[in-house]
C-alpha cells in the first residue's frame, strides 16, 4: 500500500517536472519568436524611413525641375516679346526703313540672322564660347536670346 502511494507521488513529481520543463521550453520559444518579430518590425521601420526619405528627396527634385522649366518658359515669352518690340518699337516700320536705309538694315538683318542661328546651335546643346559666357554689357550680348546665350548678363530694369 505504502509502496503504491510512493510510486504515485513519484509519477506525479516526474510529470510535474516534465510539465514545468516543457512550459519553460515554450516560454523560451515564444521569447525567440517575439525577439524575431521585434527585429523584423525594427527593420521594417528603418526601411519605411528610407522610403520616406527617398520620396521627400524625389518631391524636392520634381519641384526644383518644375521651377526651372517655368523660369525657362517665362524667358521664352520675354524673348518673343523683345523680338516683337524690336520690329514695332515706336511705330517702327521695318519695310520703310529698309527702303530709306537699305544697306544699314541689310547689315542689321544679317547680324540678327547670324545671332538667331547661333541661338539655335546653343539650344541644340552647343557649348558656349568664352566671350558668350563673360558677356555682361548690351553691346556684348546676343540680343536674340540673351538668357540662353549669355548666362552672366543681367538685363537693365
Amino acid at each position: 500500500m505504502f509502496g503504491q502511494i510512493k510510486m504515485i507521488i513519484t509519477v506525479v513529481l516526474i510529470a510535474g517536472i516534465a510539465g514545468a520543463g516543457m512550459y519553460v521550453m515554450k516560454l523560451r520559444s515564444d521569447n525567440a519568436i517575439l525577439k524575431a518579430n521585434q527585429h523584423k518590425l525594427e527593420t521594417a521601420i528603418t526601411e519605411q524611413n528610407k522610403v520616406l526619405e527617398k520620396q521627400k528627396k524625389d518631391f524636392t527634385a520634381i519641384l526644383e525641375s518644375n521651377k526651372k522649366l517655368n523660369v525657362l518658359i517665362n524667358t521664352f515669352k520675354q524673348d518673343l516679346d523683345d523680338l516683337d518690340k524690336r520690329f514695332t518699337k515706336k511705330n517702327r516700320d521695318i519695310g520703310k526703313l529698309a527702303i530709306d536705309r537699305t544697306k544699314v538694315i541689310e547689315r542689321i538683318i544679317n547680324k540678327g540672322g547670324k545671332n538667331a542661328a547661333r541661338c539655335i546651335e546653343l539650344a541644340s546643346g552647343a557649348e558656349h564660347t568664352e566671350a558668350e559666357l563673360k558677356a555682361t554689357k548690351n553691346s556684348e550680348i546676343n540680343p536674340e536670346c540673351p538668357a540662353l546665350a549669355n548666362p552672366s548678363y543681367v538685363p537693365y530694369q
Binding site: 521695318i94 538683318i109 542661328a117 539655335i120 546651335e121 539650344a123
Partner: protein
C-alpha cells in the same frame, strides 16, 4: 530468442525511420530586386548651321543688286519675302529655337531624375 526478436524489431524500426531523421532540405526561394538597366543615351550632338546672307531689294536698288549678282557669277534670281513675312519668319525661327531648347531641357531633366549619376 526473446532478446533476438527485440533487437530485430528495434533494428527494423531504425531501418524504416532512419531516412526521416534530418529529412529533406527545404528549398528556399527569395527574390532580389534588380534595377532596370540604364538607357544612357548620349545627348544629341549640337547643330552647326551654315551662314546665309540676306539681300534687301527695293524698287530703287533692284537693278544694282541683280548686276552685282551677275558680276559675282551668281544666278540673278532672289527668293523674296515682304517685310511683314520677314517678321513672321523671324518669330517662327524663335519659336522653333524655343521648342528645341524646351525639348532638350526636358530630356536633361528626365535623365537627371531617372538616371542620376552616382554622386548626384
Amino acid at each position: 530468442m526473446y532478446h533476438i526478436n527485440k533487437i530485430f524489431a528495434l533494428a527494423l524500426i531504425v531501418l524504416l525511420t532512419g531516412c526521416s531523421i534530418g529529412g529533406e532540405k527545404k528549398i528556399k526561394i527569395f527574390s532580389v530586386e534588380k534595377p532596370r538597366e540604364k538607357l544612357d543615351y548620349p545627348m544629341p550632338t549640337a547643330l552647326q548651321l551654315e551662314d546665309l546672307k540676306w539681300i534687301i531689294i527695293t524698287s530703287k536698288n533692284a537693278e544694282e543688286v541683280f548686276k552685282k549678282l551677275e558680276e559675282a557669277g551668281i544666278d540673278p534670281v532672289l527668293f523674296g519675302l515682304t517685310d511683314k513675312d520677314y517678321q513672321l519668319l523671324a518669330k517662327n525661327f524663335a519659336r522653333i529655337r524655343q521648342k528645341l531648347q524646351e525639348t532638350n531641357n526636358l530630356l536633361e531633366e528626365y535623365k537627371k531624375y531617372y538616371e542620376p549619376k552616382e554622386n548626384e
